[in-house]
């Protein structure tokens, strides 16, 4: 119990920080809620990418640096394919592409390196990252592409009765959030309720035992990389529809890194919660902390969004190395 | 109970009635391979009839005994009724009895036919076969592990059932005449009671006795075919059988058989019984489980639990009894019900319990109040095998922790000058089987059953049992001395594991105490009191103080009871070793053997009575591997405060 105090304190501090703008009257409630929702929205995307990380790490022990590149690759594929066919067909085909990619990665990268040191596998995924970034451009082109989900981009005003001036909400964001929630639900069902999901969890728990009861590791890796690919695709499509598909999309992976550290590498729940915490945290910091810094220290402000996530992750790393939901690593003798 | 039971004077007739009146309703449920399987009343009747025909074909005749050895299983209950269909007598036997213990009942009843639940029971029956030459057929329900058994006596239940079915198909009226021949005065079943000394006695109960009592209690509680009961105690004990057989046959309610002894809690949660029976030790074990889980819970949960349990202690019982309670408390209790009591009842599997009974031994007031305070209508009843259970029941709204309620309709009570309780009731047993001597001693010519229990009726006409008559003694000055009553009162404190009272023929009451290692151990740990083991802990002054407080609380209680105020505990000691059945100090059922202990520790008893402060003891102990050794210790003896009857209020 005593060990948890630093974590509790840190969480409490975050909550206080979260409540401060509202409590001190620094922000009108309507605006505050808008910022909060904006943060959550970004958080959802972080969560999706981080989930891909966590899934692969849990099932195969590989820290997949290429998750960000997969997001970009998937988004590019969908964007370009959609120019030639209806969007739903492009998405379906994109899924096929991601599954094919999983097959290739398993065959070319994972299988030859099985039983090698973790660092070797990590380096391999680094290679995959650069390959995907480059290869994606070779195949799909390097311009900025658009994905049009067919939902109006104009924000709508809601809750005018509750907040003065109401709250501006982007319909597309709402749709994206719903899609993300649905995806998480489907994945949860898949893992909890199907025999394959059970096999995947078995592999994640104990490779050796899983093999000895006849679960083929290779096939499980293909499945989990495919799932991670599909998650990347959903993230890519959502991201792409908001900001356009371009190289910077792959940088979202860099944000997912602090998320998994915060949430715990092996936990899907951790990825989701971590994503939301970081999404909201950095948006709040940018909007409310920034001006304070400017005023008090006469700094230029700005850029908080770029480092806040890492500082937060670092703090959590200090007080709880395994992450919020991660398992404490115990070496078996 | 909408249907009239007139003319249905035997269990087979009742079963036929239910098969007609509510054929599709569930009669029995059993969890098998993780799924609750239901037997409707029709199925139950069909099974019983087919098995009866099989038995008849195998040579089972009117008046024959069918031994039934096993747990609560639908087929075992079907076999009970099957035997009764033929005018035979089922003899349920304890499934956890050792083989040797089974020999006597089987010889005594001249059992020729037996039904065993599984291989384990078959093995025991086969073992005693040489002593029981009359036993000629042994059927078994569960065939697992039975493949290699080649004994000619053995046959599977299924085979007999098939034979019965075939016979029934040839002649559907086969059984009707047999069933019609039965009458209420026929013997319905025989239950063996484990005597503390000598051989067990076969208590012969008629259909009339069991049905009459089952109906009287059902009427009192308003039981109907919508009630649900979980059968988890040995069916050989009348305390289970009356609830899982007789009353079900009278009301048509459904019996549920748990998957195994270990799953009872889970199964109860799934089934949600409405009518429940548990001896105090089961209730105690449940409470312990809850307490342990609460200890492990988070701080908020624990805080909530403590707060609301304190509230429940204060007002829960009153709310259940419908007595007036302040509006604020009532509201808080409602909140507590939402947050604590409701979930707690759910965990216990008692969310739907309307009526719960406890009986068999005295129940601690705190334990009793705990269940009532969280809204479970737990009540006490008094009865025994010889009385078809129901003698006294606490009616709703008149529930006390220390009495067992007024007599149920049809029962007459009176007392001998020695305070022995005598009972006359339609539920009384016919006789002890082949034991006219014992029958004569227990039942006088006017039909009064001598219970052997000492007690009295309080001002409201509620029966209060204090002790066994043979144990009730008097102090030198003639004051009533009820050792077991005092021992129980002291044992209700969690710190006291066993207590033994001495006082008969002496001028004051003195006590031996065994502390409860677990409770006192954790108490000591919380106070940073180091100890090396039982003997060490039991010799601590702090522990003596702890026990003294318990003793003095008992004394304060006693002071309030006019009959017993004179027998307060004046001195006590904490024994240096735990009383043990292996050393002959407890019976196998963990009851203290006061006489044996008094002899063994004569020196200590004398020291308590003559006022010494310290005494040195050496005792022989038997280790688990059979060796014996000596332990020795200096024991401290302590005085406890005695309250005058008038001063009681102040001290409490």
């Amino acid at each position: 119990m005593a060990r948890n105090w630093p974590v509790v304190l840190l969480c409490a501090a975050l909550l206080v920080g979260l409540a401060l703008p509202l409590a001190t009257g620094a922000s009108p409630p309507g605006f505050y809620v808008e910022v909060l929702l904006g943060g959550l929205m970004t958080g959802v995307l972080y969560s999706l990418v981080a989930m891909g990380f966590a899934l692969i790490f849990k099932a195969s022990g590989v820290f997949n640096f290429a998750q960000g590149a997969m997001v970009l690759f998937a988004a590019l594929a969908v964007a370009r394919l959609a120019e030639r066919m209806p969007l739903w067909a492009a998405i379906l085909l994109g899924i096929v592409v991601m599954i094919a990619l999983a097959f290739v990665i398993e065959r070319v990268v994972l299988r030859p390196l099985v039983n090698q040191e973790g660092i070797a596998l990590f380096m391999a995924t680094l290679g995959v990252t650069f390959f995907l970034d480059g290869f994606g451009q070779t195949v799909w082109g390097s311009d900025i592409y658009k994905i049009d989900l067919g939902i109006a981009k104009e924000p709508v005003m809601v809750l005018q009765g509750l907040f003065q001036g109401g709250i501006l909400i982007n319909k597309e964001d709402v749709a994206a959030a719903l899609v993300a929630v649905a995806l998480v639900a489907v994945l949860a069902l898949f893992f909890q309720k199907t025999a394959t999901g059970r096999a995947l969890r078995a592999v994640a728990d104990d490779h050796q035992a899983a093999q000895s009861i006849g679960i083929p590791l290779n096939r499980m890796w293909v499945i989990v990389w495919s799932v991670a690919g599909i998650v990347a695709l959903v993230a890519g499509v959502i991201w792409g529809s908001r900001l356009g598909v371009q190289f910077s999309v792959s940088l979202v992976a860099l944000k997912a890194l602090p998320v998994v550290i915060l949430g715990g590498l092996t936990s899907v729940t951790g990825a989701i919660v971590g994503g939301l915490i970081i999404g909201v945290g950095e948006k709040m910091a940018e909007v409310f902390l920034g001006p304070v810094l400017v005023k008090t220290f006469d700094l230029a402000g700005g850029g908080i969004e770029n480092w806040f996530a890492y500082v937060l992750a670092l703090l959590f790393l200090l007080v709880r190395p395994q992450g919020l939901f991660g398992e404490k690593h115990i070496d078996r003798v | 109970m909408a249907d009239s039971l007139a003319g249905l004077d035997t269990f087979p007739k009742l079963l036929a009635h239910h098969a007609k009146a509510r054929g599709a309703l569930p009669a029995l449920r059993e969890k098998s391979l993780g799924i609750w399987q239901t037997w409707s009343w029709k199925r139950f009747a069909d099974e019983a009839r087919a098995f009866a025909c099989g038995l008849a074909a195998a040579g089972f005749k009117r008046g024959d005994h069918l031994a039934i050895v096993g747990d609560n299983r639908p087929r075992l209950y079907a076999a009970m009724c099957a035997a009764q269909c033929l005018g035979g007598i089922p003899v349920p036997m304890y499934q956890d009895a050792a083989a040797a213990e089974m020999a006597f009942p089987i010889q005594n009843a001249g059992v020729e036919f037996a039904l065993a639940e599984d291989q384990e029971q078959v093995d025991k029956l086969l073992e005693i076969l040489p002593q029981c030459p009359a036993l000629k057929r042994i059927y078994y329900d569960d065939p697992r592990g039975m493949r290699h058994y080649k004994q000619p006596q053995l046959a599977p239940y299924d085979t007999l059932l098939e034979q019965g079915r075939a016979a029934l198909a040839r002649d559907p009226a086969l059984l009707e005449t047999e069933i019609a021949k039965g009458s209420g005065s026929d013997t319905a079943a025989m239950f063996f009671t484990s005597g503390t000394t000598g051989n067990p006695k076969g208590v012969v109960l008629t259909h009339h006795a069991l049905i009459d009592r089952a109906a009287a209690a059902a009427e009192l509680e308003g039981l109907s075919d919508r009630d649900i009961v979980i059968a988890y105690l040995p069916p050989a004990w009348i305390g289970q059988n009356i609830f899982s057989y007789a009353q079900s046959f009278v009301t048509g309610y459904c019996i549920c058989c748990p998957e195994s002894a270990e799953t009872v809690m889970t199964d109860m949660r799934e089934i949600g019984p409405t009518y429940y029976f548990a001896p105090p030790r089961v209730l105690e074990a449940l409470l312990t489980q809850v307490s342990i889980r609460m200890e492990d819970a988070g701080a908020i949960k624990r805080g909530l639990y403590r707060y609301f349990m304190a509230l429940a202690q204060r007002v829960g019982g009153a709310i259940l009894d419908g007595r007036p309670v302040g509006a604020a408390d009532r509201l808080l209790y409602r909140l507590g019900d939402l947050l604590v009591y409701g979930p707690l009842r759910n965990v216990l599997g008692m969310s739907r319990v309307r009526v719960a009974y406890t009986a068999g031994e005295a129940i601690g007031p705190d334990l009793f109040k705990f269940y009532r305070s969280i809204g479970i209508n737990l009540k006490q009843l008094y009865g025994s095998t010889e009385t078809s259970v129901f003698v006294c029941i606490q009616p709703n709204g008149q529930v006390r922790a220390d009495t067992v309620g007024p007599a149920v309709k049809g029962v007459e009570l009176k007392f001998t000058p020695q305070r022995e309780l005598l009972i006359r009731s339609p539920g009384l047993f016919k006789e002890y089987y082949k034991n006219p001597q014992a029958t004569l001693e227990a039942k006088d010519p006017e039909g009064w059953f001598h219970t052997g229990d000492a007690g009295y009726l309080d001002q409201e006409g509620h029966l209060k049992i204090i002790d066994r008559v043979k144990d009730v003694g008097t102090l030198a000055d003639g004051t009533l001395f009820a050792p077991k009553y005092l021992e129980n009162k002291l044992k209700f404190f969690p710190y006291v594991k066993e207590a033994v009272m001495f006082g008969h023929g002496r001028d004051r009451v003195c006590a031996f105490v065994n502390i409860d290692m677990e409770a006192v151990g954790s108490w000591a740990e919380k106070r940073n009191l180091p100890y090396s083991g039982y003997t060490d802990l039991a010799s601590r002054d702090e522990v003596f103080e702890l026990v003294r407080e318990c003793v003095e609380k008992v004394n304060a209680d006693l002071a309030a009871e006019p009959e017993l105020a004179g027998s307060q505990i004046s001195r006590f000691l904490i024994l240096h070793k735990e009383l043990d059945a292996d050393d002959g100090e407890l019976t196998r059922t963990r009851k203290v053997r006061r006489g044996a202990i008094g002899d063994k520790y004569r020196e200590l008893v004398e020291a308590l009575h003559d006022g010494r402060q310290v005494v040195h003891v050496e005792t022989q102990v038997r280790y688990e591997d059979g060796r014996t050794g000596l332990t020795s210790a200096d024991l401290k003896l302590r005085d406890a405060k005695i309250f005058s009857p008038a001063g009681a209020k102040k001290a409490a």
């Binding site: 069902l189 898949f190 309720k193 199907t194 025999a195 394959t196 059970r198 096999a199 969890r201 078995a202 994640a204 728990d205 104990d206 050796q208 035992a209 899983a210 093999q211 000895s212 009861i213 006849g214 679960i215 083929p216 590791l217 499945i223 078996r332 | 391979l33 993780g34 799924i35 697992r144 592990g145 493949r147 290699h148 998957e259 195994s260 270990e262 799953t263 889970t266």
Partner: protein, 263 residues
């Protein structure tokens, strides 16, 4: 052992001249023995005798440098554990290898995995054949739960069970595969007397009821002698004895090897 449901049959598994080395360390040297269908075959030996290596070779975890394993008439060299599992060899683990994130029921259900036929999509939709299949498998598993008497703990996370029970769940998971041969890696290790007795009973029951051929390694001599039909004795990676418990007990080489170490 006089009564058994399935008389001992033909050779089902044979180990022929197996040698295994890790770097320069020889774990097994030219070990040969055979296992007959329906028998309980024990491999015993002092610590470090190569028992576990032997089991891992049969199971496909290690691939021996020399020698072959013949199972059901087929010779195999480089089979992976999941392939030997498909072929009909199941195993339990000395150091529990249960899936600790799962309940008892789920753990045992994973043992049915290799017998699941429905494809992913059908599973996900819990549609028609997949649902029927799941129910069928669940029923199988329930029979095993009943057989090994673990009903009270179906929904309990395995990590919360006492050690002896976890071992039983491990056995249940292996049984769920309906293997022809069951490899037990020190099934009584770390158990108290009562748990050991239970485990012995279960092993014999499994052998009798399902007819499963059992190969077990164990260093508790007493237990092994009671329940085995035949015993292989290893010492320093070499076979030094092979025969009925009675024969093995009388063998001078075995006595030397065993009395050399305190027991």
């Amino acid at each position: 052992m006089s009564q058994r449901g399935n008389p001992i049959g033909e050779v089902i598994l044979s180990v022929e001249g197996v040698s295994l080395a890790f770097g320069g360390v020889r774990a097994l040297t030219d070990v040969s023995f055979e296992v007959r269908e329906h028998e309980v075959r024990a491999i015993i030996g002092p610590n470090g005798a190569g028992k576990s290596s032997m089991l891992n070779v049969i199971n496909g975890v290690y691939h021996p440098q020399q020698g072959t394993i013949r199972f059901l008439g087929q010779t195999y060299h480089d089979m992976d554990p999941h392939e030997t599992a498909l072929a009909g060899i199941a195993r339990t683990f000395q150091n529990l290898a249960l899936f600790k994130g799962m309940s008892v029921l789920e753990n045992i259900l994973t043992g049915r995995n290799l017998r699941m036929r429905a494809n992913l999509l059908l599973q996900a939709l819990r549609a028609g054949p997949a649902l029927r299949e799941e129910i069928e498998h669940r029923e199988r598993v329930e029979h095993i739960i009943d057989f090994l008497e673990i009903q009270p703990w179906r929904k309990t996370p395995v990590g919360r069970l006492p050690y002896g029970l976890q071992k039983r769940v491990d056995l249940a998971r292996a049984l769920a595969m309906e293997p022809r041969v069951l490899l037990l890696d020190e099934p009584m290790a770390g158990m108290n007397l009562e748990e050991k007795q239970d485990m012995c009973r279960f092993i014999l029951d499994v052998n009798d009821h399902f007819g499963t051929t059992i190969v077990l390694i164990e260093h508790d001599m007493g237990v092994v002698m009671d329940i085995s039909d035949r015993v292989v004795v290893l010492d320093y990676g070499k076979k030094i004895g092979d025969g009925t418990p009675h024969e093995v007990r009388a063998s001078q080489a075995v006595i030397d090897a065993y009395l050399g170490v305190s027991h």
